[in-house]
Symmetry: C2
């Protein structure tokens, strides 16, 4: 490694640049960039990610010469900031923070106040004349260092702090005296020795290297690995180490620290938005230990403490100017951290601000309008994953309910679920088969990175402490989940798994509802409604449509679903499952009679009774999609899914049908299968019982003819499922065409229809050229294709899939995002082979993957004509399809 | 179509040649060839297969000008044979027979005696002065024509014949008089009119064309289609029509008809072997209506009627000369039909003689020794499918049993099964889940082509009538099944489903045993033993080994199976399943304790107890295969296969293990899967419970080390099943290697081992390049690969697979013979991708297909290194592997 390893920044000039994210991490690159922009940033230096990778590769060795480079950089910082690291008269302190390429808030470890020792403590007291501040800083250093570098649990320190407070009869840390802090520092050091057997290092240089090493190592601890997995970040990226001169927001009443967003991260409104705490360190704001104050008057609500705008008007104005400068420079909303030390403003960090979907859409559209960004960029700024939340329920405005208590509306939407108190419980309840147990709301004093997986498993989060930028709030917005934070009335008792509000006790398993728009917490289930979409949203969707090449259809079985999907912009139905239509109270008996029929004649009799139902179903859905393609899949599931399983139910059914109960039981038993997924279903039923598909084809053509006669434009596409061998399709195509000719002739009407197949069996992809000879279209049924390609039963894979993802064997659940290497190879093969014999072949996807942005990107590149997904994912798909085009264009354009 | 359509033969010259099988069918080409060889063949002509294809394509139209061609050919026949077709003074009669490219005995329809009418009957009587013969021929014509051309059931005619016999008080047709036959002819004509509403045509020309059309159409009737399917003959081959002058074996005491083989078709011995009937037509011999006489003294046994050698010594000598000529010309054993008409010998047909496997081997080896054929040809002469029968059981020579009765030893081997009386019953009993009901012996008066599928489903056949060349006998030898024919003591009553021998009644479901070597029929089950293999067999196998390139291994789980397979020439074990070892009485409790363990510690405790068992299993099998590779597959099936299913059994197990029965039931329930085939099994278990694979790896290495120390050469290959993702293999490879290093170090011994995987999941084939990075070998598990590629559960596919084969959707059961297009494409892809990153990769197959000749041919061409199959199929595989090489060489060379 011959490259520069240590990058200095400070005093208006930096070795690095904002573009060096891979080398310096997001934070380091931004510190360099801000410095270059002339923004006041405490001086410091960044150790590059390559050093970290070197360290991992050599099993814990830093490159030769690194120490000298660090020493030189320390010297430069001292020159800019004044004082000296380890200098007992005028000590300079450092923070050490990790900086990964992609920001992972709270996930990487930080140590502050490095450089305090017995000697420098004395010097700093002499210099600042603020003994309490110095000892507070010292005990914080010990505590953090012990935890992050020496791996000691925080509990011991926390207990000592609490003991000190009760000894002193105070509630808040602020009320403790200098002596108290000094005592605590002493007790903490004893504790360190007691728990680790080692002394807390009194040597600043030893502290610095301990912290650097800890940051580098922290990139490989389980919670970092878990976060990366959830966010699809590669495991082999190193982390940079940022060493920066400390500035203090806790130096007294003329000091403060805060966090802000350049626009409202919840709504996207163009207002400066943030929080601060006087006389505090940054950790105090984000950890939610104290409830912060609003940054300006615009945000201030009744009862709120004094805003920064009032408290320090000049500083606020400076900050506001910096905000504008940053937005112009980065052309995106920034999330900034600042500290005011004795009346001087320092910027500690800027990064792209996380935002709700609503905010993302509004910011993108407004920035485009302001000429800050191009339309392309605006479209790319909104994450398709995120916008689904916009389309989801909110509390029904007409619902009446009693509010239990109110917290901060930290992330919008609504959450209805059963109360759980630990992340583990959230995960285990979510794994429960009972859908009523599935949905939980995680209730915590405050959340922490350890809770990530539990948060992923719940509907929403309720915290007793913490603000809009607390961990819970940030994570919730990122996940698109509802969060009510800082609901201070909550008295949580983890031991009994209950919380109290006033006299009321709410226990684990009780239903609650959160209103993310208002911060209301409601006991019980409250009705929710679908959202109205903003004009910004419609604009963004229009832009997405300008770029995308993939068509977007929906999977819908009813006219109602079809209507919702059309409202979201669906251009047709990619999958209309006919079997759901059979489950109606008035139909199920006929389908059962059909299944239990002794011979074809009896079977046809039952089918004749089903025909009118199917016909009217098809009329409804064809009419709802007026002139848009409706792809109707013929009967797919195995017949045993339609018949009852218990002995009594079968006996009752026998009575209904006038059949011998014993023979019925035999028949039911004979239908049971060892592996129904690989059994007698799909077109195999159509081959064995052609009369069933005949009835369905008849119903489709009769519906289409009847509507055509009424002047309604109809475009039915008939889809034969589970084809594995071309002859299956040719035989059934002939059957459908025969019925079509017959019905159309009888009605004197021509219907524009197509016949195609699902490609959901690996073999169909392998012989797709032969299949395509009989198909007008292919639709990839990637659920089944994934099951068979991987050999994973979706119903059973739960027992090992989670472990597979945890162990890194699978990057993600292949049922959620398409397996590009395996399943994707079959998809590409089928498209190529299919089009090689039938260039007109229309190709789409109708599995769950049709609504997953990564899978949609794959579909675009595989040359598909359209994707089809559930109605609520239609806008996701439209946006993801645009992203696929733009991402490719960006790659080509460089 | 401009080609010649009608090919004349007769009088020593023919238009066609033996090589024109595709155009003239097997029979027509051979008639032309025989004629060209100067062998006396009744003149005639063949209408080419192209005419038939034209007829199918045009929906029943013959090409223009065919009539004129036929007229011209009839004229040529008249010139050679004398007389005239339809000439009332000197009538010439014709037979019309179908001739497919490949001989399908008895499957295609035949009409004899065409040209008899009111007028020609009179003329023929005048000419022959044999009224009885003429009326017998006439009534036969009516009966056959009615059946074959007019589609009338035979029963009516049969009943009239029987009625006439009982009226006359006679038992045999022979005893009926000329007047009786004349009466019957009249009654038959009335019957025809009654049943069809049409007159039997009195015009010879109309008769001829009716018969030609019927033969052409008969190529498309269900029983022909069914035969082709069973014999893998393509459906779109046309049939030729052979029209030939009739010669009569039933013209009195100086006439006869017979069927013969140039060598003994049962043993292969170089003796002339055949049967004849004096004063009879060919149908009488093959239909088994009369029991024929031996052709020569060599065959004559006590009680047999006079042989042809005695009866007509000169004719016999002529026939024997023709036999030699034919064998020299065709360099293969021939199956010939001849007729002696008033002392003149006519050859009606010659074709390659069907033979038992034993005969095939001996004939091939002896013909090579005689310089008739090359060694290559000798190897190719034996069908690998067939030789398996040589390796199967025979009646235990030490068994004592009582013989119920004896018939002809028509096909060798032994059959033990339950008596069934209809082909349908054989099929439905074979479909029964109960293995005890599975095995049937089909008992019939005589079998017929309609019974083909039932015969396929039974162990063997017992008939009351018919000889060594009867339908039952020919089919049995072709299928490699045991048959006892012509057991005349049997009195079969289809109505009550019983047969009587003397006073004893045997009913449906009773066990019987057939001895195909002796013709004995035995009540009950008799012990059987494995066969001794002839020296001819060993010679042939050696020759096969000279040619083949594929290695042949065996699938064996026990030292006993391994020993049998080595005896058959297995070069290693391609699949040793470890799970079967767990089912022993002394082990199953530990595996159950392992499964039911509450935690890893408890699981390890149970595994520790299993370890010694596994170690001694592996020692046994490694020792049995001394120095040959033993491929050991780690645990594969889902855990629930090892635990009991009933509540009571689980409670008992709980008691045994000292566990709470309720928790055990829950645990058992939690292990149940919706689709176990796609569930938690194979390497997924190894990933979830690494301690299980650790124990197995330890057992393998400990066994290998212990044997190595004793000086036994061992070559264990460890196979990880069900890999779908390369990381699964890399993780488990690491695990196995770790244990290996540890055990080898402890023992101070180096073991030569490899680690590889089964390719049985489609995805593994798709990413085989990445898998191969961690594999020393691939072994295709084509059973599972077929299940997942087709989406067919082997356990459930029965409900539709049969229908699929019947409807021609599938050519054959893809679990029996590899699906080259789909599964084969994945196999080829995996081999190519695997070798692209790992050129040393050793590749084999261990699914059922490893013993199937067609699949072996595929494996050869896909570049596999070896196949592995069940011990009894090892010789089949050796021969099939040689065939694969020779077939390819033949294609290249010509």
């Amino acid at each position: 490694m011959t490259r520069k390893r240590v990058y200095f920044f400070g005093g208006g000039r930096a070795d690095g640049r904002g573009a060096m994210k891979n080398l310096l991490g997001g934070k380091g690159a931004n510190l360099a960039e801000m410095t270059n922009l002339g923004i006041p940033v405490p001086a410091g230096f960044t150790i590059s990610t390559e050093v970290c990778i070197h360290y991992y590769e050599r099993g814990g060795d830093f490159p030769d010469g690194l120490e000298a480079d660090v020493d030189a950089a320390v010297k430069m910082v001292e020159d800019v900031m004044g004082g000296g690291f380890g200098n007992s008269d005028d000590p300079l302190l450092f923070s050490v923070r990790s900086g990964a390429r992609v920001s992972m808030p709270g996930m990487m470890d930080t140590v502050l106040n490095l450089g305090l020792s017995e000697k420098t403590v004395a010097g700093l007291i002499a210099k600042t004349r603020n003994e309490r501040f110095v000892y507070d800083s010292y005990r914080r250093l010990i505590q953090m260092y012990a935890n992050v570098v020496m791996g000691i649990e925080m509990d011991g320190f926390h207990n000592l702090l609490e003991a000190k407070k009760s000894e002193r009869g105070v509630k808040d840390d602020m009320e403790l005296s200098a002596q108290d802090m000094k005592d605590l520092a002493g007790q903490f050091k004893v504790k360190v020795k007691e728990l680790s057997g080692k002394e807390f290092p009194d040597n600043p240089r030893e502290q610095l290297w301990g912290a650097i090493r800890a940051v580098v190592q922290s990139g490989n601890i389980p919670r970092a690995v878990s976060y990366r997995r959830l966010n699809d970040i590669a495991d082999d990226w190193g982390t940079a180490v940022n060493v920066q001169a400390m500035v203090f927001g806790n130096m007294g009443e003329d000091s403060a620290t805060g966090v802000a967003f350049t626009r409202d991260p919840a709504t996207g409104e163009r207002v400066f938005y943030g929080e601060f705490l006087p006389d505090a360190q940054g950790e105090d704001v984000v950890s939610g230990v104290r409830t912060p104050h609003p940054i300006n008057l615009a945000q201030k609500k009744d009862g709120d403490e004094e805003s920064l705008e009032e408290f320090m008007p000049e500083i606020y104005r400076d900050l506001d100017t910096i905000r504008e400068k940053l937005e112009l420079h980065y052309t995106d909303t920034q999330d900034i951290e600042f500290t005011i030390q004795r009346g001087k403003l320092w910027m500690l960090q800027t990064r792209t601000g996380k935002r709700t979907a609503e905010a993302a859409v509004r910011i993108a559209v407004e920035m485009e309008a302001d000429g800050l960004i191009s339309r392309k960029t605006a479209v790319m700024r909104v994450d398709p994953h995120q916008i689904e939340q916009l389309l989801h329920k909110r509390i029904d405005p007409d619902a009446s309910y009693e509010v239990l208590t109110t917290g901060l509306p930290a992330s919008p939407g609504a959450a209805v679920g059963r109360v759980v108190f630990t992340a583990e419980d959230a995960v285990s309840w979510a794994a429960d088969d009972d859908p009523e147990k599935h949905r939980t709301v995680l209730v915590r004093e405050e959340t922490s990175p350890e809770d990530i997986e539990g948060m992923n498993a719940s509907q929403g989060f309720l915290t007793a402490r913490g603000g809009m930028t607390s961990h819970a709030a940030v994570v919730a917005r990122g996940m698109g989940k509802c969060c009510v934070a800082g609901a201070g009335d909550l008295k949580i008792d983890y031991a009994t798994k209950t919380f109290k509000v006033g006299g009321l006790v709410v226990k684990e398993g009780d239903w609650i509802t959160l209103n993310g728009a208002t911060g209301e917490v409601i006991l019980g289930k409250v009705a929710t409604v679908d959202p109205e979409l903003s004009g910004y949203f419609a604009t963004l969707m229009e832009w997405a449509d300008e770029f995308r090449q993939l068509g977007v259809r929906t999977n819908a079985d009813t006219p109602e679903d079809a209507a919702i999907a059309r409202g979201f912009g669906a251009e047709g139905i990619g999958l209309c499952r006919t079997e759901h239509m059979f489950f109606g109270e008035d139909r199920i008996k006929y389908i059962r009679a059909m299944i239990m029929a002794a011979d074809e004649a009896e079977r046809r009799e039952a089918l004749d009774k089903l025909l009118p139902f199917q016909r009217s179903d098809f009329e409804g859905i064809l009419e709802a999609m007026k002139g848009r393609t409706v792809t109707i899949r013929l009967l797919d599931p195995p017949l045993h899914e339609f018949i009852p399983h218990s002995e009594e139910e079968i006996e009752e059914l026998a009575k209904d049908l006038g059949k011998d109960p014993e023979r019925m039981k035999e028949k039911a038993a004979s239908l049971r299968e060892s592996n129904p997924m690989l059994g007698h279903r799909g077109c195999r039923l159509g081959i064995t019982f052609p009369e069933v598909y005949e009835m369905q084809a008849r119903a489709i053509f009769e519906a289409a003819c009847s509507l055509t006669k009424k002047g309604v434009d109809v475009k039915p596409d008939i889809m034969i499922p589970l084809v594995g061998e071309p002859k299956e399709l040719s035989i059934l195509r002939e059957l459908v065409e025969r019925i079509g000719v017959e019905v159309m002739k009888k009605n004197g009407v021509e219907v524009d229809y197509h016949i195609g197949t699902m490609i959901e069996i690996p073999r169909a992809a392998l012989v797709a050229d032969e299949v395509a000879e009989h198909a007008d279209f292919f639709s990839f049924g990637t659920n089944d294709l994934t099951q068979m390609t991987y050999g994973y039963s979706r119903d059973d894979a739960g027992s090992f899939l989670k472990g597979y993802i945890e162990k890194g064997i699978l990057v993600c659940d292949p049922f959620q995002s398409i397996d590009v290497k395996g399943v994707g190879a079959l998809v590409k093969m089928a498209v190529e082979k299919g089009r090689s014999v039938n260039p007109e072949l229309h190709v789409g996807i109708c599995g769950e993957h049709g609504g997953d942005p990564e899978s949609i990107n794959f579909c675009h590149h595989a040359g598909l004509d359209y994707v089809s997904c559930s109605p609520y994912r239609v806008p996701v798909a439209r946006l993801a399809a645009a992203h696929a085009v733009l991402r490719a264009r960006m790659r080509t354009e460089g």
